[in-house]
């Protein structure tokens, strides 16, 4: 990939959900910097706001206060759709696969609209899904296999930022190792910004940098 140094900056980011009449502050004035070529792990208790932070960085949620900048370009200046298409790819906690498509089609689907033609089997193979399994509908695959298909879909993307929400939650230790290696390769060999949300200490320890989210603060 490119040798260019990409940088994602989170500035004074605050976020709160309105639950009825009271506001629940999830993120409180967060500052962080993510650089290409590195794997970041975000850890935190369940409900601490890790997914919310990922949603904001991937422009799935609108910013309330503060800013997110990619290479000094504010997320406010471009549409969320364009940001997702060009810069960021997410592996969702809930996989978000299209259940009436095969594994291969799910991997293919992202590259369909960003205009690149890719062979999904290359990426499926990386995450340990055989070509045969790739021809099956995703809801005929196990939870762990589905998670790996979701990761393969992210691998197939050309985005400089890869984010993963609990990507190893359903995987056995051996597969987990493999997946971590893939993410590390993405950062180290392909010069991407890799952000992994996890509650697994083992996964976090393999990252280049660990950030902890606690009571709305990131440290």
């Amino acid at each position: 990939m490119s040798d260019k140094k990409n940088v994602l900056v989170v500035e004074n980011l605050s976020y709160s959900y309105k639950n009825g009449d009271h506001e629940q502050k999830i993120l409180d004035n967060i500052n962080a910097e993510f650089k290409s070529g590195k794997v970041y792990a975000i850890v935190g208790e369940s409900g601490s706001g890790k997914t919310t932070l990922l949603s904001l960085i991937s422009a799935l949620d609108k910013l309330q206060s503060g800013d997110i900048k990619f290479n000094n370009k504010s997320l406010k200046k471009i549409s969320g759709q364009e940001f997702r298409l060009k810069y960021v790819n997410i592996v969702f906690q809930s996989y978000n696969l299209i259940k009436y498509m095969t594994a291969a089609e799910n991997v293919q689907v992202a590259s369909d609209f960003d205009g690149r033609k890719t062979d999904p089997n290359i990426y499926l193979k990386k995450v340990g899904i055989t070509e045969d399994e790739g021809k099956r509908l995703v809801n005929k695959l196990s939870g762990g296999q589905q998670q790996r298909v979701a990761i393969a879909r992210a691998l197939a993307s050309a985005s400089p930022i890869i984010m993963a929400d609990e990507p190893t939650g359903n995987l056995d230790e051996e597969t987990e190792e493999k997946i971590i290696e893939i993410f590390k390769d993405l950062a180290h060999k392909e010069n991407k910004i890799v952000i992994i949300v996890t509650h697994s200490r083992q996964v976090a320890d393999k990252a280049d940098k660990i950030l902890t989210l606690r009571r709305g603060k990131l440290s």
Partner: protein, 484 residues
């Protein structure tokens, strides 16, 4: 299915406009010699004011008849206008020693000439001699022109048809034949009521009529034979008078021109208070039924288009709802909403195109079924109307005087079982004629297909509006969160 109906409607529409032109050229082009009622009324008024007896006035008036020479002259000098013609000769005869069928008594003998809608007072047979007449002589150019044949109340029971070449051949009723034990090929003699001359006729056919009040004493024959029963003055040394003269135009556009020319060139018409006029009644009947098919097609078209838009909108909305999650995922991966809508539109247009192609095949058949149904009811009602005015013009039957008589009547005759097989069966001609008059050309034209596809795509695009608006409102986070 929808596309089917749309195409059917388009085919009907375009067939209608083609048929209107065709109808104009075939039906509008009937020119007939009629009494110039305006002039007659003018004369009556002035004569009445002079204190004349109106009854005497009626008697002195003649039916709108012209000499056969004039008629033939009009025909032979205007072959570039006239495609066909017909006229009748009406007379009476003395039954001589034959029995006559007792009439069911509604009309005086000898005066109920078929197809004449003139009051008895106007009849030229007003001399005393006709009172002795028991037989009505009806002379037509050919069997096919007999009114009963045209409105299908008369059928041929035995024998065959007569035409202009069938000299001294007569078509008699079944009752008359039974009463006098006459069979096909037999000869019988009638007397001219004026000169008492005996005229021998050969039975060429025996007819049966479904009309209960019909006079069984009507004997049909060709015009030249019928003329022999006229009075010496009416016979006029062979230049006898003919009535109900009709000319069928080659091209109806020329009808007016023809009328003007005839009225100017043949002064003997106006001398007898006659004039030629364009008879548009048949055309009006047919064209109104064709127009109703067209407006029916319009209605179908509008209903179908609106229904299509609603149904396709519903289908697409349901489809989009079903694929909400997929759309959310695609959007979370960076898919543009416009791309998503475009994708759905592409799928729909592909399915649509397939559907239109299918409809192109089946729509023609549907158009046939629909328009047949409408025309059936329409033609039935217009036929009822035209029964009130006698003497419907026949198109395409008959021949020119002196022309090769049989060739023009040749037709791909479809045989009917109760008819003797004849190469030029007039009844078959009539059947074909009635069908072609009201049959629409339902072969779809390229414009129909073009219109179908354009409308189809327009319907799809319109049907996409609502689902597209709902897609534009989609928030990927909410969709995905809803699934968690």
């Amino acid at each position: 299915m929808m596309a089917n109906l749309v195409l059917a409607a388009f085919i009907i529409k375009s067939a209608v406009s083609a048929q209107m032109d065709y109808a104009k050229s075939t039906l509008g082009g009937t020119v007939s010699i009629q009494a110039d009622m305006e002039t007659i009324r003018e004369t009556q008024k002035s004569e009445l004011s002079e204190g004349n007896d109106p009854r005497e006035m009626f008697k002195s008036m003649s039916r709108p008849s012209v000499s056969v020479e004039t008629a033939n002259k009009i025909i032979s000098t205007h072959t570039d206008y006239i495609r066909d013609y017909s006229y009748v000769v009406s007379a009476s005869a003395n039954a001589n020693n034959l029995e006559t069928v007792e009439t069911k008594g509604f009309s005086g003998k000898g005066n109920n000439f078929p197809g004449m809608n003139f009051p008895d007072e106007l009849s030229s047979d007003s001399s005393d001699a006709s009172l002795d007449a028991d037989i009505t002589i009806a002379g037509f150019n050919a069997y096919a022109y007999i009114d009963g044949v045209e409105n299908e109340t008369i059928t041929l029971k035995d024998g065959t048809y007569f035409d202009e070449d069938a000299t001294d051949s007569a078509l008699i009723s079944y009752e008359f034949s039974e009463l006098n034990s006459l069979k096909v090929g037999d000869e019988f003699t009638l007397k001219n009521v004026y000169s008492e001359t005996e005229i021998t006729l050969t039975v060429i056919g025996i007819y049966d009529t479904s009309e209960s009040r019909a006079d069984a004493n009507i004997i049909y024959m060709n015009t030249s034979t019928a003329a022999k029963f006229l009075s010496a003055s009416d016979y006029n040394d062979g230049n006898y008078s003919v009535e109900n003269v009709k000319f069928y135009m080659l091209n109806s556009d020329n009808a007016e021109e023809f009328v003007e020319k005839i009225n100017a060139d043949f002064s003997e018409l106006s001398e007898n208070n006659l004039k030629v006029t364009v008879d548009t009644s048949e055309y009006d009947n047919i064209s109104s039924s064709i127009e109703s098919v067209s407006s029916f097609a319009d209605t179908i078209l509008i209903i179908v288009i609106i229904a299509s838009i609603i149904i396709i909108t519903l289908i697409v909305t349901i489809n989009v709802k079903d694929r909400r999650y997929e759309i959310g995922v695609l959007m979370s991966l960076g898919a543009d909403k416009k791309n998503v809508i475009g994708q759905i539109a592409t799928e729909l247009l592909l399915v649509g195109t397939f559907g239109f192609l299918l409809a192109s095949v089946t729509g023609t058949a549907l158009a046939g079924v629909l328009s047949d149904h409408i025309l059936e009811t329409q033609v039935a009602s217009s036929a009822e109307q035209s029964e009130k005015n006698f003497g419907r013009p026949g198109a395409g039957v008959g021949n020119m005087p002196g022309g090769s008589s049989n060739n023009s009547r040749k037709n791909q005759a479809s045989k009917t079982t109760d008819m003797p097989e004849m190469p030029n069966s007039p009844s078959d001609l009539l059947k074909n004629r009635n069908e072609t008059n009201v049959e629409l050309d339902l072969n779809a034209k390229p414009e129909d297909y073009l219109l179908l596809f354009l409308t189809g795509y327009l319907v799809i695009i319109l049907a996409l509006i609502l689902p597209s608006v709902s897609i534009m409102r989609y928030q990927p986070k909410e969709i995905l969160a809803g699934k968690e």
